[in-house]
Symmetry: C2
Subunit: 477 residues, 2 copies
């Protein structure tokens, strides 16, 4: 039986100015987690959010996380844990979001004041944090309020986890989630995270997979100190000469990883999967636009989406220790550290991938016949994540999308990692769904970040509708 | 007829404390040209030097050079032009030195106060500028004074050119030298520069060659802005992937330049040259010590000296635009600029070398099949310099070395460039001699820079003796 949602939906529409006003209040607090001087604003944002939740009748805890590891004089902002509803006869859903934002200055090139929500006539609402992630976080609060004002029973018990350090590495959060998996979050039957984006601008999506990321350093050293290339050029073996040869051996222009033992680990494409890509709302024009050029590896949509979602990639990020400033300096760097990372996919194993990388880099270096010293190691590793899109959690979201937007959602994966996704899955043992509110053009980390009014208001409807469908879905997965 | 030098020599010995005191006064003025805040000290040093010269009876001009190009609010320090002697029957010799110094802070690791000349019991005189280049500059003044006090006629007319910006690119000097080649310097019959070092610590040398330096940038660009490797990895052609492949194709670990058309230009080794290297006072231990490691390309002295002096070398200096900080950042840089340089030797031509580099880099890039955009260009070029060591200017110095030190000097070339050498040669059309005072262990640009008392005092004798032999040498070259 389809849930009765009309009353809720019309209440959301009635309250839309109020909800935009709530978003404006949140955007006005410059909760920049990367800037120590803004830490009081981050804390103020968390407290404002907690107060809003209490006003709506939720029970709220502000959980301290201790000091910031890289700045021991600085307290981390609290994690907001909240619960709305204690009905044993209802499902319990855990949602996550973050109340901190990326840095922003008008002088970076913003057309409007970044911490003043500015709604254009076309419905675009500009402001830092509008789409990442204050809009989606407030979406949950707005859904509660609209139910209350419409007199519609809230369909589930809602557990909420809102952090204030997402844009600066989510310091301290993993430990809390792991600890509360069987504590504060123990009743959760599924998890929903609204902190990503539609693949394009036309069609909503449900996201069921993310690539992992293993980040490597290749360190080559020789001389005791940096040398003058006039005095030593031609007589000393130069670490930089070796390093560019090693880095040049990892991947080719067309993205083909040259390291044996990587592609062997990749799950084969199933016939079911083969058919998935054609219907995805994505064009090469979308990619060219976001790339700012036509320098793509593939000419077509399907291999492009497969390369982003289900195949590994290798990127060389840079070199530490060499000359990197503008101008000319005739230095022979004594020790250089090349940085590269591999985006990982099912069924790659972290250890097996590391070993393949180490063995290959050592082999390439050995062939150079160099007297310099090589070290290769992983700076950090993170596993890929893939959920079952047939789970009732996804089925509910699928129906909610169709109800609110009138279309079936795309089922997408993403090329990047959102490590908290895997942490929630592992800590709770439950299915995790990524349910985005904003679109691909929102510019989450750029100047002129925005959220379209339509995405915000229909997104509030979507979050509420999703909870209604969740309440009705049979537990078949 | 050998010049009568005993009176001069014994006067130098008598005045040695006074000469060390003069050096202490010069070292006490922190004339750091790279530091805008120290500019008044650089000017003060120039004025002090001018006053010393006037006291000795030289005519002196302080030539302003205008504003510093990269800091237009800052006046360049003056060039000191001086003349001592106007006798038409004497030869006229032009000497060059610089009165500015490298930066130095006690906290950099100096064992003594860098701007206090500290004379150890072993005769090592520590202080910034002691060997580079205040000791040699004062050497000329001390030679004048010792002649006066010994009542020995000064054997030549001396033209002097002392600049205050050598450690910061000699801004403005080339133009002045070019202009005064037929002006202030028009009487010069030969040029002597004392601003380099013995090859080792045991034996003086005369330097007759320097390598040139062509500095190149390889710029590869694609996307409109830096990208996130999670989102775009595997779908975009990455400029950094292309760049490390191009940089990796330039030279191998053993210093072999891979660019066709470079080695063809190198002058063949003559049978006369073959015999030169064995007698040079230099050991592989010297090289290992200055390198701080044993990561040399060759095991033996001769190929090592040839590689430093008479063969080109290619060094990769770094990458601009990529991630170069410590830590991990998952960026795909949109535009990266690789920097490398080639040290050039006879008979390489700048244009021919540039064309060989451009053609090769373009060919390697074309083979990658990349859609990214390549630019390759020279940031700056500088020609090699080789003088005739059989010129009377060198013969005079050779005899002076043997008289003062009791050994025949090594004839050396250097791997680095001292661009002013070539400028003087071209502006005056005369032979240029590099006649070093300090030794290889002086640490000119390092902490604990020093000049050995013996090198200073015997060096003063050497400069004076050189002028006497110059006065007597027949003009056969």
């Amino acid at each position: 039986m389809a849930p009765q949602l009309d009353g809720y939906f019309s209440q959301v529409d009635k309250l839309s100015d109020h909800f935009i006003d709530r978003l404006a209040k949140a955007v006005a607090i410059p909760s920049i987690s990367a800037d120590a001087a803004r830490r009081p604003d981050v804390v103020r944002m968390g407290e404002w959010l907690a107060a809003e939740l209490k006003t709506l009748g939720a029970s709220v805890e502000l959980r301290p996380l201790g000091k910031q590891p890289d700045q021991p004089q600085l307290d981390l902002p609290p994690v907001i844990l909240a619960r709305y509803g204690e009905d044993k006869n209802k499902r319990t859903i855990l949602v996550y979001g973050h109340y901190d934002v990326q840095p922003a200055e008008k002088s970076d090139g913003w057309a409007t004041e970044p911490f003043t929500l500015t709604v254009g006539e076309d419905g675009r609402m500009f402001g830092r944090g509008s789409t990442d992630d204050k809009g989606p976080v407030l979406g949950w609060l707005n859904a509660i309020e609209a139910h209350q004002k419409a007199g519609v029973d809230f369909p589930v018990n809602l557990l909420m986890c809102f952090e204030g350090m997402e844009e600066y590495g989510s310091e301290g959060l993993d430990e809390l989630i792991e600890k509360e998996g069987k504590g504060y979050f123990k009743d959760a039957e599924a998890v929903c995270i609204s902190d990503n984006y539609w693949l394009g601008t036309e069609k909503p999506c449900l996201t069921y997979g993310l690539r992992g990321c293993n980040y490597y350093s290749v360190e080559i050293s020789g001389p005791g100190a940096d040398l003058h290339s006039g005095v030593f050029g031609g007589t000393a073996q130069e670490p930089m000469t070796d390093l560019v040869r090693v880095l040049g051996s990892l991947v080719d222009t067309h993205g083909k990883i040259q390291i044996p033992g990587i592609m062997d680990q990749v799950a084969p494409v199933t016939s079911e999967e083969e058919g998935l890509y054609d219907n995805i709302s994505f064009t090469m024009d979308n990619l060219h636009e976001s790339l700012g050029s036509k320098t793509t590896i593939f000419e077509d949509k399907k291999p492009t989406l497969m390369a982003r979602w289900r195949y590994p990639s290798l990127s060389v990020h840079g070199v530490e220790g060499a000359f990197s400033a503008p101008g000319a300096k005739t230095v022979i760097p004594a020790k250089v550290i090349g940085k590269f990372s591999i985006r990982t996919v099912p069924n790659m194993e972290i250890e097996q991938t590391n070993e393949a990388v180490y063995a290959y880099v050592k082999e390439v270096f050995a062939k150079l016949g160099s007297k310099n010293t090589l070290k290769v190691y992983a700076q950090h590793t993170g596993k890929w994540w893939v959920a079952s899109p047939n789970h009732w959690n996804f089925r509910a979201a699928d129906k909610a999308v169709e109800r609110v937007w009138g279309v079936k959602p795309d089922y997408t994966r993403e090329g990047g990692s959102i490590p908290v996704t895997l942490t929630f899955e592992q800590a709770t043992g439950k299915n995790v769904l990524l349910l985005p509110m904003g679109s691909s053009t929102d510019g989450a980390h750029s100047i002129n970040e925005k959220l379209d009014k339509k995405n915000y208001i229909e997104g509030i409807k979507l979050l509420g509708a999703y909870l209604h469908y969740v309440a009705e879905e049979e537990q078949t997965n």
